[in-house]
């Protein structure tokens, strides 16, 4: 698992391909929404939370597609599946790589959203924000990694990935947006924040467990 993560990060540092395209896409998305929605310096209430997660989801989909396209081009995913380790470890390695990549994008995205949407409150609760970002990103990537791996041989994988992925991750996105919106309030209601965080953690456990359970049969049939 750690070997695969290290390999993915080395390849990414070497090429920068996925990180730069994902970041460019996410920043463009935020900028467009900022120009469309922010008038006279006033942003829609809680808009920053929704926008942040839209950008993460869209950029994440792009990252998933490109990351697995790289494994497809030289059929290296097959080589990973041939390794004498439990195949779910391959899934976990790829999942951690996607989460690490998206975490890097979020580090730039969050201050940008806070700046453009007058949402400095986001930055006032870094621990809460980090927890919600990590939990939401893991939930998104858990399903996305499984689907992207499943679709690696499908001809229209670029179209199919969002079509399959978005309906399944709607609950994660709702919990992530609501959890982030709580942090935008003048007084953070920690009970409500805990509720959304716990819900996200539950989704993470369910999705990761299901993906670990199904990864091997899905990849060998």
């Amino acid at each position: 698992m750690w070997l695969i993560l290290r390999k993915d990060l080395t390849v990414e540092v070497r090429s920068g391909e996925v990180a730069y395209t994902t970041l460019f896409f996410a920043v463009s998305c935020v900028l467009i929404f900022a120009f469309a929605l922010v008038r006279d310096g006033r942003a829609p209430e809680d808009g920053a939370a929704g926008l942040l997660w839209i950008a993460i989801a869209f950029a994440g989909t792009l990252a998933l597609g490109r990351t697995f396209e790289r494994e497809r081009q030289s059929e290296t995913l097959r080589a990973l599946l041939m390794a004498p380790t439990a195949r779910p470890a391959v899934y976990l390695g790829k999942l951690l790589g996607i989460v690490a990549l998206l975490a890097g994008v979020e580090v730039i995205l969050v201050p940008l959203v806070a700046l453009l949407f007058n949402a400095n409150a986001l930055l006032e609760h870094p621990a809460w924000l980090a927890a919600i970002l990590i939990a939401g990103t893991v939930g998104f990537a858990a399903v996305g990694t499984l689907f992207a791996a499943m679709l690696i041989r499908a001809r229209s994988r670029d179209v199919l990935l969002p079509v399959l992925l978005y309906p399944v991750i709607v609950p994660v996105m709702i919990a992530a947006v609501r959890g982030t919106a709580v942090l935008l309030q003048p007084e953070v209601d920690t009970q409500v924040a805990w509720f959304w965080l716990a819900l996200l953690a539950t989704f993470d456990v369910v999705f990761v467990t299901l993906a670990l359970w199904t990864f091997e049969p899905v990849m060998t049939d």
Partner: protein, 240 residues
């Protein structure tokens, strides 16, 4: 006996009445053969004959729709990970990361196959491939023949008991082909089971010990110590 220890012991691979369907298409249909240690078995046939599907099943990457493949007494469903550690695959695609250097690629796969001193293993493999001076160059800068040599070392980095090779001579010049043939003979003489899918009969002639002719997913014929492969192939496959 542990799975890993048991996997060291398999001395033959038995394919028993194996079929593989993709939807309604039958890629492989009721194929049976046995590959023994110290032999090179050739899967011969035209494109679409089911050779690559057969290799994917032998590599445990695909499950047969019907029938069974046994590695000695071992069932891949029960000993999957341990068996995979004893199988080396050189596919039509090379299974290399073009962004990584030759050494990084081999060291990564050596570590993945739990070899101790992965870096040293990679260095020795590059010496065997005659590419020690290009160890730190990215694979993307290599010619097809050089990549193929690295890919062969990747496939054999863990000293597999069963080597599966899919069209390994594609794109190789004469020197690289001769080196590959030498390496395959070395593997056979070392007691490995080598299964080679190819439609290059000239190279297969004199190299393989047993031939299994596949046509449209079925076994058309088999030969032991094959001679006159080209005429046998013509007889079996018709005018193709």
């Amino acid at each position: 006996m542990t799975s890993a220890a048991a996997a060291d012991d398999f001395d033959h691979v038995a394919v028993d009445d194996v079929s593989r369907h993709f939807g309604r298409r039958r890629a492989v249909s009721r194929v049976s053969f046995t590959a023994r240690e110290g032999t090179i078995l050739g899967l011969l046939g035209p494109n679409g004959a089911g050779k690559s599907t057969m290799l994917a099943m032998l590599a445990t990457l695909l499950r047969p729709t019907a029938g069974a493949i046994r590695f000695g007494t071992l069932d891949p469903r029960a000993h999957g990970a341990a068996l995979r550690g004893r199988i080396g695959v050189l596919g039509h695609d090379l299974f290399l990361y073009p962004e990584l250097t030759a050494h990084e690629n081999l060291a990564f796969f050596a570590a993945l196959y739990q070899r101790s001193d992965a870096s040293g293993v990679a260095t020795r493999a590059l010496v065997r491939a005659g590419l020690a001076d290009r160890a730190d160059d990215p694979v993307s800068s290599f010619s097809r023949g050089m990549r193929q040599r690295v890919a062969l070392e990747r496939a054999l980095i863990h000293g597999p008991r069963l080597a599966l090779l899919d069209e390994p001579f594609t794109g190789l010049d004469d020197a690289s082909t001769a080196a590959l043939v030498g390496r395959l003979r070395e593997l056979r003489d070392g007691g490995a089971i080598v299964i080679l899918a190819t439609h290059d009969l000239e190279l297969a002639e004199g190299l393989i010990d047993e031939a299994v002719f596949l046509r449209e997913g079925r076994i058309a014929s088999t030969m032991t110590r094959p001679e006159g492969l080209r005429s046998a192939y013509r007889d079996v496959m018709g005018h193709r």
